[in-house]
C-alpha cells in the first residue's frame, strides 16, 4: 500500500466563530450556518468573494452545499457535502487541506448551524432507517447505552466513572460564558437524574440546543498574513465501522482506534504531545471510549482514567474545555465545535478556560451511533 502523504502543516485554520449559541429563536439552520460563516470570515479579514470552496452539512437539507452557495451568492470551485453525521466537518477539513494543497481552491469555508432547540417542527429522522431495527425503537441514547453497558461488563467501568465525564464538562462550562448549562453538578446529581436509557441518565446525554460554528482554511503561506496565531492542520484521518449499533464489530472499540493512530502518524506526534483534547461527547461513554481508542490510556482503563477530576479544570489532561456537548452546546452535529475550541486554545483566546502553553490540540468527531470517527491534530506555528 502506498504510504499516505498528508500535507502536514501546509493548510491552516485562519478564521473561526461560534454563533447563536444555546437559543436563537426565529433563525433557520441555514441562517445560523450562514451567520457563523460570515463571522469566521470576518475574523480572518476575508469576505465571501474570497471563498472558492464551501463545505457544509445541515440537518434539514440534503443538498445544503448547493443551498448555502446560492444563499451566499457564490459559485464555489469545490463543494463538499459529506454527511457522516457529527464527524462530517472534520472530514471536510481533511478534504479542504488536500484541495488547498493541490491548488484546487484558495479559501475554504466549513460551516454548520441548527435551530434544534427552538424550531417549531421536529426534524425528520435521517433517511435510511434500518428495516431490521426500527421496530425495536432504538433512539440515539439507547444505542450508546448498549455500548456503555457492555463497557461496564467487560472492564468494570462504574456508573460513577461515567458521571465523572459529565461533572468535568460542567466544571469547564462554568468557565465559559457561552455555555448553555452552567452551575453545580455532582456525581450524585448525574446518577440520580432521570433515566433515559439504562445505564444512562439525562445528565449522561448531550444537550439539545441551537448553535452554529464555522472555520476558514487557507494554505499555510497565506495564513501568517491573515492571523497572528493560525491553527495549522498537522494531521487528520477518518474511519468508519458500521451504521447501526448491532453491526458495530466490538461495542467497546470505536473507529477512533483507526483514525487516531493515522492522524498521529500524519502529524508525526504521539498522544503525549497533545496539550488539550476536544472529544465529541454526545454521551459520557464517548469520552471514555475515545480516550482509550486515541491512545491516552489502555483499552478498558478509560473509566479509571477520568476519576478524581483528571479531565476537569486543574486535572492532568484538559478535555472539552468549552464544556462539550454535555454542558456547552449540541445542536445535533457537534463536530465543528470541537474544531473551533481547538483553534481558540491554540490561539490563546479561550478566556477563563484557557489552558497554558497550548501547542497541540486534538479535535475528534463522532457520527451516527459510534459509527464514524474523524480525528484532527492542530498545532501552533511552533509545531511546524
Amino acid at each position: 500500500m502506498t504510504e499516505a502523504r498528508f500535507p502536514r502543516g501546509r493548510a491552516a485554520m485562519v478564521g473561526w466563530a461560534t454563533h447563536g449559541m444555546g437559543e436563537a429563536p426565529g433563525q433557520s439552520s441555514m441562517d445560523l450556518a450562514a451567520g457563523a460563516g460570515l463571522l469566521a470570515l470576518d475574523s480572518a479579514g476575508l469576505t465571501l468573494a474570497d471563498v472558492d470552496a464551501l463545505y457544509v452539512a445541515l440537518p434539514d437539507d440534503m443538498l445544503s452545499g448547493l443551498s448555502l452557495a446560492e444563499y451566499y451568492g457564490i459559485h464555489p470551485k469545490v463543494t463538499g457535502n459529506n454527511r457522516t453525521g457529527g464527524s462530517a466537518f472534520l472530514s471536510h477539513a481533511i478534504e479542504a487541506a488536500l484541495a488547498l494543497d493541490a491548488g484546487l481552491c484558495d479559501v475554504a469555508l466549513i460551516t454548520y448551524g441548527s435551530n434544534t432547540r427552538t424550531n417549531t417542527r421536529r426534524y425528520p429522522a435521517p433517511p435510511g432507517e434500518s428495516p431490521y431495527e426500527t421496530a425495536y425503537r432504538p433512539n440515539l441514547p439507547a444505542s450508546y447505552a448498549l455500548a456503555a453497558r457492555r463497557h461496564m461488563h467487560e472492564f468494570g467501568t462504574t456508573r460513577e466513572q461515567l458521571a465523572e465525564v459529565a461533572v468535568a464538562a460542567r466544571k469547564w462550562a462554568n468557565l465559559n460564558p457561552d455555555a448553555y448549562k452552567r452551575g453545580d453538578l455532582s456525581i450524585d446529581d448525574v446518577i440520580s437524574a432521570p433515566m433515559v436509557a439504562s445505564p444512562l441518565t439525562v445528565r449522561d446525554c448531550c444537550l439539545v440546543t441551537d448553535g452554529a460554528a464555522a472555520v476558514v482554511m487557507t494554505r499555510a503561506d497565506r495564513a501568517r498574513d491573515l492571523r497572528d496565531a493560525p491553527a495549522y492542520l498537522l494531521g487528520g484521518a477518518a474511519a468508519t465501522t458500521h451504521r447501526y449499533i448491532a453491526a458495530m464489530p466490538d461495542l467497546t472499540v470505536t473507529a477512533a482506534a483507526q483514525s487516531g493512530p493515522r492522524a498521529f502518524a500524519h502529524a508525526g506526534l504521539a498522544p503525549s504531545d497533545v496539550d488539550v483534547l476536544q472529544l465529541y461527547d454526545a454521551f459520557t461513554i464517548n469520552v471514555i471510549l475515545f480516550l482509550e481508542d486515541l491512545g491516552f490510556c489502555p483499552k478498558g482503563e478509560g473509566g479509571r482514567f477520568v476519576e478524581g477530576g483528571a479531565i476537569a479544570p486543574g486535572g492532568t489532561l484538559p478535555v472539552n474545555t468549552n464544556g462539550g456537548g454535555l454542558s456547552c452546546v449540541h445542536p445535533g452535529m457537534y463536530g465543528l465545535f470541537t474544531m473551533v475550541e481547538a483553534c481558540r486554545q491554540i490561539a490563546g483566546e479561550a478566556g477563563d478556560r484557557q489552558v497554558d502553553d497550548v501547542n497541540v490540540a486534538l479535535s475528534h468527531g463522532n457520527g451516527g451511533v459510534l459509527s464514524s470517527q474523524a480525528t484532527l491534530l492542530l498545532g501552533s506555528a511552533a509545531t511546524l
Binding site: 428495516p131 425495536y136 448498549l146
Partner: protein, 129 residues
C-alpha cells in the same frame, strides 16, 4: 441474482413463523441482516438456512419514555451462528437479563401488526432443544 429482495423474503419467512438467516455457500459464514452479498467478500452465493434460534445476550438497555408510556427494553443478541442482531426480550426477567445469558428466538405477531423477531431468556438448567 437469485435473491432479488432479501428483506421481502425474510419477512415472508417470518409470516410463515420461520426465522431464516443467510449463509454463504463458499465461506459457510452466516449473515444477518439479509442482503444480496456476503459482507467483506461480496460473494453472491447466499442461501437461506433455518436459524437455530439459540443465542446469548450481548448487551441490553431499558428505555424510559416520557409521560405514562411504559418503559421498553432493547437487547443485542449474539446468535449461535455468529451474527449479532437487535431485538426485544420478552417474558420473565426481560428487563433484567444478565450479559451472556442464553436466549431463544420467538416470532411474535401483534394484533394487526407485522410479525416480529423477539427473544425469551432460557431459564438456567432448562434443557436445550
Amino acid at each position: 441474482m437469485n435473491q432479488p429482495n432479501p428483506e421481502a423474503e425474510f419477512r415472508a419467512f417470518l409470516a410463515e413463523n420461520r426465522f431464516m438467516i443467510q449463509r454463504s455457500r463458499s465461506s459457510g459464514r452466516h449473515v444477518f441482516y439479509p442482503r444480496i452479498a456476503e459482507p467483506g467478500t461480496g460473494a453472491r452465493d447466499l442461501e437461506w438456512v433455518e436459524a437455530s434460534g439459540a443465542g446469548t445476550v450481548h448487551s441490553f438497555t431499558v428505555v424510559t419514555q416520557r409521560g405514562d408510556a411504559p418503559d421498553y427494553n432493547i437487547a443485542l443478541v449474539d446468535l449461535a451462528e455468529g451474527p449479532r442482531l437487535m431485538t426485544r426480550l420478552v417474558g420473565p426477567g426481560a428487563d433484567t437479563p444478565g450479559i451472556g445469558q442464553a436466549v431463544r428466538a420467538e416470532i411474535e405477531t401483534p394484533e394487526g401488526g407485522d410479525p416480529l423477531l423477539v427473544f425469551r431468556l432460557v431459564a438456567e438448567g432448562e434443557a436445550e432443544q
